[in-house]
C-alpha cells in the first residue's frame, strides 16, 4: 500500500510541473501589468519601463519561469507587488484561516447531510423524504453568493448576531478569547456554506440507501431474521456511506474552491480573498503561487480519496 501511495506521489511530480507551467503562462497572458492602476497615471512611462526591467518582467517567459522555480525551491515565492511583502508570508498568514474555515464547513456539511440523506432514503416517497428533497432542490437552485449576501445582511447587519468582517476580533486578549472569537467569526459563513452545500451528499446518500434497501444482501439479511433496525445499522448504513467516505477527499478541494466566494463576501482574510484581490491588482506572483497551491491541494484530495476508498472497501486493495 505504501508503495502505491509513493508511486502516486511520484506521478504527481510531472502533474505539478505541468500545472505550474500552465499557471505561470496564464498569469502572464492576463492583460495589463502590475503597475497599472497602482501608480500615478501621470507617471513617466520611462520609469514604468525601468520598473519592469528591474523586476525581470521583460525577460522571455521561460527565463521568468525558471527564475520563479529556482526561487520556489528556496522557499521564495517572490514579493507581492501590491503588498510589498514576501508571498510566502502573505499566504502563511491566511492559509490557516482558510483551512480552518473549510474544515469546519466540511464537518457541519457532513453533520447535516448524513442524517438527512439516510433519513430520506429510509423513508423514500414519504413526507419527510419529500420535504428533504424539496430542501435540497431549493439549495441547489440558489447560487451560493446570493445566500451569503442574504445571510450576512440578515444575521450580520439587521439582527447583528454575527460579525460581518475579519477572522478574529481585535479585543481578544487571552488565548481562550482568541479561539472563541475565531470560532464566532467562522460560524455564520460555515453554517451557510454547510446548509446550502449539502445537496450532493444528501442526494447521493439517499439513492445509495434506496439501492442498498433493495439489494440482494439485504434480502439475505432479512431472511436470516435480522430485525429491521439492525439491518439498517449493520448492512445498509455502512454500505451506503462507503462511497461518501471516499468522496471526502474530493470534497475538501471543493470547499477550498468555495472559500473564494465566502471569504470575499465576509471580508474574511484567507487565501480566497487574497486571490480575488490579487487578480484585480494583477499581482502575478501571488496569483501563480495561489493557483499552484490550490492545484496541488486538488491533486492531494484525489489521492486522499483513493486511499480512503482502499481502506474502507475490501474490494479495492492497493497492493
Amino acid at each position: 500500500m505504501w508503495k502505491t501511495i509513493l508511486r502516486r506521489l511520484l506521478i504527481m511530480i510531472p502533474e505539478v510541473i505541468l500545472l505550474s507551467v500552465l499557471v505561470f503562462l496564464l498569469a502572464k497572458a492576463m492583460p495589463g501589468d502590475p503597475f497599472t492602476g497602482s501608480i500615478n497615471p501621470k507617471a513617466d512611462p520611462a520609469q514604468i519601463k525601468h520598473l519592469m526591467e528591474i523586476n525581470g518582467l521583460n525577460d522571455p517567459w521561460y527565463q521568468q519561469y525558471w527564475n520563479w522555480v529556482v526561487h520556489l525551491f528556496h522557499g521564495n515565492l517572490g514579493n507581492s507587488y501590491q503588498y510589498q511583502e514576501p508571498v510566502t508570508r502573505l499566504i502563511e498568514g491566511r492559509a490557516g484561516n482558510t483551512l480552518w474555515l473549510a474544515f469546519f464547513t466540511m464537518i457541519l456539511t457532513y453533520a447535516f447531510a448524513l442524517p438527512l440523506g439516510v433519513y430520506a432514503g429510509r423513508h423514500e416517497g414519504k413526507l419527510p423524504d419529500t420535504i428533504i428533497r424539496f430542501y435540497t432542490y431549493v439549495t441547489f437552485c440558489i447560487p451560493v453568493f446570493v445566500i451569503l449576501v442574504l445571510g450576512i445582511w440578515i444575521f450580520g447587519y439587521v439582527l447583528g448576531w454575527f460579525p460581518t468582517t475579519g477572522s478574529v476580533s481585535s479585543d481578544a486578549q487571552t488565548w481562550a478569547q482568541t479561539v472563541g472569537s475565531r470560532f464566532y467569526h467562522i460560524l455564520l459563513p460555515s453554517l451557510l456554506g454547510a446548509l446550502f452545500g449539502t445537496v450532493n451528499i444528501v442526494q447521493y446518500l439517499r439513492s445509495e440507501v434506496i439501492d442498498a434497501k433493495h439489494s440482494d444482501y439485504v434480502r439475505t439479511a432479512r431472511s436470516k431474521g435480522v430485525p429491521s433496525k439492525d439491518i439498517y445499522r449493520h448492512h445498509i448504513f455502512r454500505n451506503s456511506l462507503l462511497p461518501i467516505a471516499a468522496f471526502a477527499g474530493y470534497s475538501i478541494t471543493g470547499l477550498l474552491n468555495g472559500s473564494i466566494f465566502t471569504e470575499t463576501v465576509f471580508s474574511y482574510p484567507g487565501m480566497g480573498l487574497l486571490f480575488v484581490n490579487s487578480i484585480s491588482y494583477r499581482d502575478y506572483t501571488v496569483i501563480t503561487a495561489l493557483v499552484l497551491i490550490y492545484g496541488i491541494l486538488n491533486l492531494v484530495g484525489t489521492l486522499l480519496s483513493d486511499i480512503i476508498l482502499s481502506i474502507v472497501d475490501p474490494r479495492v486493495r492497493i497492493e
Partner: protein
C-alpha cells in the same frame, strides 16, 4: 395429502402486487404441503409466480405494496398472521433461504464468518467461541476445503460455487425445518450445479429438513425432487411425485414444456414451440383455463369454466379436464411424434 407429517401447509394462498394503484394476483389460490425429508420442486418459467411463492412464505414482501390472503400453517403457526418481529423468530431459525445469485446475496463488505454467525446472533445464545466453531463446522459441511481461511475472506475473493456454498451455510446454520432454495444453481456451471445439488441433498438427509426447490430447469427437477409442482401463470397446474410428473405428465403445459426441451432423440429436428405468450399480470384472466390460449386447437368445451385440481392417481393432481382429450396437432393428424 393432508397427513400428520406435513409441517408446512399452504392453504389457498394468493399474493397480489400493486401496479398503478391496483392489485393484481401474482399467485392465486396455491395449495401445497411439505413434509420432513422431502424435496418439493416448484417448476415453471419466468413470471409464473414461483419466486413470489418463495418470498411469500419468507414474508419478504412490503405490506404496503402487496396483498396476501390464505393461510401458511408452519408447525401450527399461521405465518401470515405474524408481524415482522414475530416472523423474525422463524426466518433464519426455522426457515432458511438460498438465493439465485450468490454474489449479490452476500454483503460485499463483511467477512464470510460475520455473515454466517449473524444468523446465530439472533437465534441462539451461543458464545463467540461457539459461534466461531459452528461457522467452521458449517463451512466444512457445505464442502469448503479450508474453512479457516474462507471464514476470513470477503465474498469477492471466492468463486461462484464457493459463494453459493456460503449462502447454503447461512441458510442451514440454525438447522431449519424448511429450506427454500430459489434457483440455487442457475448462475453456476453444470459441474458446480451438480455439486451444489449434492450438498443440498446431503444436508437434507442430515437435518431431516423439507426443501422447496424452485427452478426452471426440468433436468434439475428430475434429478433432485421427490415431488413436483408445475406452475403456470400464478397457478399450480400439475403436481405429483417426480415419477408421476415425468413418466406420465398429463397437463398440456407440462407436456409442452417437456416437448420443447432439446433431447437426445430430437437432434436436428425443430423443437416444439408453445404458441403465444404468458399473459402479463394485468391481463391475467380471472376465470377459465389460463393455458387455453396457448393451445388454441383444443375446443372450448374441453376446458372447465373454472378449472380445479383433479386427483387422477394418489398424490397426482392435474388442473382442468382438458388433459383428458389433449393432443398435440401432429398427433391429431396421426403422424408419428418424436
Amino acid at each position: 395429502m393432508e397427513t400428520e407429517s406435513n409441517f408446512l401447509n399452504i392453504k389457498d394462498v394468493s399474493t397480489a402486487f400493486k401496479i398503478d394503484g391496483q392489485f393484481y394476483d401474482a399467485i392465486s389460490h396455491i395449495n401445497l404441503q411439505v413434509q420432513h425429508d422431502e424435496i418439493l420442486a416448484i417448476v415453471g418459467e419466468s413470471g409464473c409466480g414461483k419466486s413470489t411463492l418463495a418470498t411469500t412464505i419468507m414474508g419478504l414482501h412490503d405490506p404496503a405494496e402487496t396483498k396476501i390472503s390464505g393461510e401458511i400453517d408452519f408447525e401450527g403457526t399461521d405465518l401470515l398472521k405474524l408481524d415482522d418481529d414475530g416472523y423474525n423468530e422463524f426466518r433464519g431459525a426455522k426457515i432458511g433461504m438460498i438465493f439465485q445469485d450468490p454474489l449479490s446475496a452476500l454483503n460485499p463488505l463483511k467477512r464470510i464468518e460475520d455473515q454466517i454467525s449473524e444468523v446465530m446472533d439472533y437465534h441462539t445464545q451461543m458464545t463467540k467461541a461457539e459461534k466461531h466453531k459452528r461457522t467452521l463446522e458449517l463451512l466444512d459441511e457445505v464442502g469448503i476445503v479450508n474453512p479457516q481461511r474462507t471464514a476470513h475472506q470477503f465474498p469477492h475473493e471466492l468463486s461462484g460455487g464457493m459463494r453459493q456454498r456460503v449462502v447454503i451455510a447461512i441458510a442451514i446454520a440454525c438447522k431449519p425445518d424448511l429450506i427454500i432454495a430459489d434457483e440455487p444453481t442457475t448462475a453456476l456451471d453444470v459441474t458446480i450445479q451438480a455439486q451444489i445439488l449434492d450438498v443440498l441433498r446431503a444436508i437434507q438427509k442430515e437435518n431431516h429438513a423439507g426443501i422447496i426447490l424452485i427452478t426452471h430447469d426440468l433436468g434439475v427437477v428430475a434429478e433432485t425432487a421427490d415431488r413436483v409442482a408445475v406452475m403456470y401463470a400464478g397457478q399450480i397446474v400439475e403436481q405429483g411425485t417426480a415419477e408421476q410428473v415425468f413418466n406420465s405428465p398429463e397437463h398440456p403445459y407440462t407436456r409442452s414444456l417437456l416437448r420443447s426441451m432439446p433431447q437426445r432423440d430430437n437432434e436436428g429436428d425443430d423443437l416444439y414451440v408453445i404458441k403465444g405468450n404468458v399473459p402479463s399480470l394485468q391481463k391475467m384472466p380471472s376465470t377459465g383455463d389460463r393455458f387455453a390460449p396457448r393451445i388454441p386447437w383444443v375446443p372450448e368445451s374441453a376446458h372447465e369454466a373454472d378449472p380445479v385440481m383433479h386427483e387422477i392417481a394418489p398424490g397426482h393432481e392435474v388442473r382442468c379436464t382438458c388433459y383428458k382429450t389433449f393432443q398435440f396437432p401432429d398427433e391429431q393428424k396421426g403422424s408419428v411424434t418424436v
